[in-house]
């Protein structure tokens, strides 16, 4: 099986080589040009280290050396050998549907033609039998009443009558009928007269032009009336019908196959249009809507599903673009500031306060560094969750130590973290969460900030609450977006505001620790809640 598959691949590769460079193939068929042949075989030699096809390849080498006709022969053989299944798989859906339907149709039409012929023959034979029997019964009645004329009167001469006596001799006959030899032997005639059957006889040996349909009827005194009807007319009808069917059925078949081909094409057109739309998306790289067919069928639901997927992709692409452009903007601003300060200082050094310039440039550099750190942290959290395997961290202790750093903040920070709750995580990332939340709270608080840690079921709830102006409910989710600034009046005149990454980092870090982060209105002020799973050890 492995060898066969390799063979198929090789044959295909050979085709590809031939198509790519018809010249090389011509050269390959001329044994004297060894170099060109080498070229033609190069792609196969390239994957020579593969061991499973080595034997096959050696064989082929033999063919190549023996000359072009063997090579061509192998090509043809290879193509045939791939088999009907291979050929079938390569047909279009439309062709396959048409072929399957047409094959069924051909069988049905053929069977119908055969049945029709059979039924016609049966009914014709039956009517011949009936007319023969009618004639025989009439003659028998005449014979019984002793009024049988000679020759026996018959209709238009299509029927032949013989009357046999009890000894099997012909006593009377219709004109043109044999008067010496009965059409049926007397014992057979008696037998079929009893059962009411009929016999088909060949005409010519009896001096008749065609097949005969023969019946027999008993009369009085042991006499038998034999009646024969020529088959010729029935034969004509059947032959005519057969001719009509022989020509008509293929024509009808061809017409129906064409109709099937057209209908299949029509039915599959929405799929072709979907494909065209998808190809355009691939070419342009711009996700846009695929055509949705009006019919409420499977193709429509496929198109709707694909469109849904494409619009999600487009939205993701847009988010990514926005993020990149926001990032670029945030990185460029401090760089522009530093560059301009330095350029102006160098251009106009007279009366410049170098110390102040250095302080300003330093402040911008710090801002740039912080931004770079934040972006890197976010990228790491997005990429791989926690950077290190988590280690048990006491959130209460962490909370206390971080809160101490805010002793000199513009409002007092009260820590309410009794006890000891361990969470599994990265202490640096967790302390960043706390710092970001406290920075925000201290910036907006009116009189104080409260931070608390307590247990809530199987998780630890960290809350930071300020009594500042809060955030309108509709903006709360937006606050977690990257580079989002809700406070439109806030300017970067001071260094109070960050780049708008603080809450994004909080949420990303909480998520990386298997937790959640939310904001909610706290009457006056804002309440930030971070829920983290409690470490199992506690």
């Amino acid at each position: 099986m492995v060898d066969q598959r390799t063979g198929t691949g090789d044959a295909r590769q050979r085709d590809a080589v031939a198509q790519r460079d018809p010249g090389a193939r011509q050269d390959a068929s001329a044994p004297r040009d060894a170099g060109a042949r080498q070229d033609a075989s190069a792609p196969r030699d390239a994957d020579a280290p593969r061991s499973d096809g080595d034997a096959f390849r050696r064989d082929e080498g033999g063919w190549r050396d023996e000359g072009a006709w063997r090579y061509e022969g192998a090509r043809r053989w290879g193509r045939w050998w791939r088999g009907p299944a291979w050929w079938w798989r390569r047909r279009s859906l439309r062709a396959r549907l048409t072929i399957i339907t047409s094959a069924g149709l051909a069988l049905a039409l053929g069977a119908a033609a055969v049945l029709l012929l059979g039924a016609l023959r049966l009914s014709l034979v039956r009517s011949l039998d009936d007319s023969a029997r009618q004639g025989a019964l009439g003659v028998a009645a005449l014979a019984d009443s002793g009024q049988l004329p000679d020759p026996v009167p018959v209709g238009a001469g299509t029927i032949t009558i013989q009357v046999l006596d009890a000894q099997g001799r012909i006593t009377d006959a219709s004109s043109g009928a044999d008067r010496l030899v009965p059409l049926l032997p007397p014992n057979v005639a008696i037998a079929i007269a009893q059962t009411g059957q009929s016999r088909t006889l060949s005409g010519p040996p009896l001096g008749m032009p065609s097949l005969l349909q023969v019946v027999a009827v008993r009369a009085s005194d042991g006499r038998i009336v034999i009646a024969a009807v020529s088959y010729a007319q029935a034969e004509d009808s059947i032959t005519t019908l057969a001719r009509v069917l022989l020509i008509g059925t293929p024509l009808l078949f061809a017409l129906l196959a064409l109709v099937i081909w057209l209908i299949t094409g029509y039915t599959l057109r929405p799929i072709a249009e979907l494909r065209k739309g998808a190809a355009e998306v691939t070419q342009t790289g711009v996700p846009r809507d695929l055509p949705v067919p009006p019919a409420r069928d499977e193709v429509r639901s496929l198109a709707v599903t694909l469109n849904d997927m494409l619009s999600r992709l487009a939205a993701a692409q847009q988010r990514q673009r926005d993020l990149v452009s926001d990032t670029a903007h945030e990185l460029r601003s401090p760089i522009a500031s530093i560059r301009t300060q330095l350029e102006v200082a160098l251009d106009h050094p007279d009366g410049l306060d170098w110390l102040e310039t250095a302080r300003d440039v330093h402040a911008d550099t710090l801002r740039l560094a912080r931004l770079a750190e934040d972006l890197l942290l976010l990228a790491r959290l997005d990429e791989q969750g926690l950077t290190r395997p988590g280690k048990p961290t006491d959130l209460c202790a962490l909370c206390g130590s971080v809160a101490e750093r805010y002793a000199a903040a513009r409002v007092p920070v009260l820590a309410d973290a009794p006890g000891s709750y361990l969470v599994l995580g990265d202490p640096d990332a967790l302390s960043r969460v706390l710092v970001n939340l406290l920075d925000n709270a201290v910036r907006h608080a009116a009189s104080q900030v409260t931070v608390s840690v307590r247990r809530d079921g199987g998780s630890v709830l960290l809350t930071v609450r300020d009594d500042g102006p809060g955030i309108p409910a509709r903006d709360i989710e937006r606050a977690f977006g990257r580079f989002s600034r809700l406070d439109s009046a806030r300017s970067r005149t001071g260094d109070a505001g960050g780049a708008g990454l603080g809450l994004a980092i909080v949420r990303a870090a909480a998520k990386a620790h298997g937790g959640t982060a939310h904001l909610r209105d706290a009457g006056p002020g804002l309440l930030a809640e971070v829920r983290l799973p409690l470490a199992a050890a506690t």
Partner: protein, 225 residues
């Protein structure tokens, strides 16, 4: 020369101010969009350097508002947004120049001087003759509130005529400026397209903006007909 710098990066703004001061400009600084618009309206500046991402009101809106008020002070946009559509939008809203951050201070100063040379003559972003208006940025034409669909040639013809309202423009000049040079030499083509244009901008509204001046050419009525 008085220059207004609208920029929310305080240190950047003061560095620009220091530099421009040293080159002899009088500089005022506004740190947000609302202040910036107010100062630009009232201050009588010779040029405005405008950031786009401003607290309060974006630079786009400031620029648009100034032009809507027929304030033709030269505006140089200074922004970290470097997307091509960001730049195109800024310029189409009526800004005169666009410089992306980080920028060279020398180039900023040179561009400002170039802007000041050009002066504050009216240069509307949306061209208008009476109630007939043409926006080259979005390629739209309106008569009062009704949008008018024009073909590319009809648009180009109207674009050329609306820039010289009330003046007679000869057919050969139109042929030269609206059609490919040398491709068409038959002046009839101008007449044909003038007819098309008239059927779209005048006939449906019962107006007569595009006037034929016998033996001279065409004139677009300054009041829109």
């Amino acid at each position: 020369m008085r220059v207004l710098v609208v920029e929310d990066e305080q240190r950047l703004a003061s560095a620009v101010r220091r530099g421009l001061n040293a080159e002899g400009f009088m500089v005022d600084v506004a740190y947000d969009g609302v202040d910036g618009l107010h100062l630009a309206r009232e201050g009588g500046y010779d040029a405005v350097v405008l950031d786009l991402m401003l607290p309060g009101m974006s630079g786009y809106r400031v620029c648009e508002q100034l032009r809507a008020e027929r304030n033709w002070v030269p505006v140089l946009i200074l922004s970290a947004k470097d997307g091509e559509y960001d730049q195109a939008e800024g310029l189409d809203l009526g800004a005169d120049d666009y410089l992306t951050k980080p920028f060279s201070y020398v180039v900023l100063a040179a561009r400002l001087r170039a802007l000041l040379r050009r002066g504050a003559r009216p240069r509307p972003a949306v061209l208008a003759a009476g109630d007939l208006s043409l926006d080259p940025g979005s390629r739209t034409v309106r008569r009062a509130d009704a949008a008018i669909e024009l073909t590319a040639k009809e648009f180009a013809l109207l674009d050329y005529l609306i820039r010289r309202p009330g003046q007679v423009v000869s057919k050969s000049e139109l042929l030269e400026h609206v059609w490919d040079p040398g491709s068409i030499t038959d002046l009839n083509v101008v007449e044909v397209y003038a007819g098309y244009l008239r059927r779209k901008i005048d006939t449906p509204f019962g107006r007569n903006a595009l006037q034929t001046v016998r033996g001279a050419g065409y004139r677009l009525a300054a009041d829109g007909g």
